[in-house]
């Protein structure tokens, strides 16, 4: 069942459709907002809730097939995050150096620690990117959207998306290169 189907069912009064859409879309929009907002969980939750509320309100007038529901939601979240960043003073980004502690010596614990460290380092490097590059890189390489979808979300052309992601990746690579040894790439 597609998001379009579920949205139509919600508009017709189906509460279960609202629950299924929430299960599908809320984790994605929350994670996306958290990355755009530099890991500010509280702000990201507010953005995610507001984006979902706009989805509910828009449901009766939704025209299936014109756009993907998820694409529409990412666009709303992008704009809300932009509003947040403009409204709030720049916050410190403590995520990069706060590596989680290993809780036990069980097999795989070290691998999980490395994974968490990589994710934290990437978030810190993403936070240092220009806004549009960060949005494009996250949508392309973490959310897994296509370039045309990203172009629709950001309101730019596909070539601009390609340029944004390429420049963003180069900047990320440069920022993360000094931490190769810390993050498990020394031996590879």
């Amino acid at each position: 069942m597609t998001d379009d189907d579920l949205l139509a069912m919600y508009a017709a009064g189906d509460r279960m459709a609202a629950r299924l859409l929430t299960d599908r879309l809320l984790p994605r929009v929350l994670a996306y907002a958290a990355r755009l907002l530099g890991g500010d969980r509280a702000e990201a939750e507010d953005v995610a809730q507001e984006a979902m509320l706009r989805l509910w309100r828009m449901a009766p007038g939704w025209r299936p097939g014109e756009a993907k529901v998820s694409t529409w939601l990412y666009r709303v979240a992008t704009n809300l995050c932009t509003d947040c960043r403009r409204a709030a003073a720049r916050r410190a980004q403590p995520m990069g150096d706060d590596l989680p502690e290993a809780e036990d010596g069980a097999p795989g614990a070290e691998a999980r620690l490395v994974q968490a460290a990589r994710a934290a380092a990437l978030d810190a490097a993403l936070a240092a990117l220009p806004e549009r590059q960060r949005e494009a890189v996250v949508l392309r390489h973490i959310e897994g959207l296509s370039n045309p979808e990203i172009a629709e979300i950001l309101g730019v052309g596909v070539e601009a998306v390609e340029s944004l992601t390429a420049r963003g990746k180069r900047a990320l690579a440069a920022a993360l290169a000094p931490r190769r040894d810390d993050l498990g790439y020394a031996e590879g």
Binding site: G13, R15, T22, L26, P27, A31, R35, A59, Q115
Partner: protein, 113 residues
């Protein structure tokens, strides 16, 4: 190093807790509140009374008086519309066609000037 980015992206996709139950509950509460009213079945409410019309009728003595007033208005309009013909005929019958002067032809207003 750009090849290594795939490992970072994969780690990022796997990292991060999902939405809390509290957030999911807030989102579902919003969904409930925003659900289109037409889709929510409920007892059919009677249409609201047109209170202004009842109040206006009561002001003039209730329904019968309002009906009488309406009839008088209609009759007045009809008489007014046919009035000139009727009054000419009536004037001719009374005066026999002679002109009646209600006032003398004297200069009422120029008498002192």
């Amino acid at each position: 190093m750009t090849d290594d980015l795939d490992g970072f992206f994969a780690a990022a996709r796997a990292a991060g807790p999902g939405p809390s139950e509290a957030l999911a509950a807030r989102v579902l509460a919003d969904a409930e509140a925003a659900m289109p009213r037409a889709a929510v079945p409920g007892p059919s409410a009677p249409p609201p009374r047109r209170r202004w019309l009842a109040a206006a009728a009561a002001l003039f003595g209730g329904g019968p008086m309002a009906a009488g007033l309406a009839s008088a208005v209609v009759a007045g309009v009809a008489i007014g519309y046919a009035g000139p013909v009727t009054s000419d005929w009536l004037a001719g019958a009374v005066s026999g066609g002679a002109e009646i002067q209600l006032m003398a032809a004297s200069d009422l207003f120029l008498g002192e000037g």
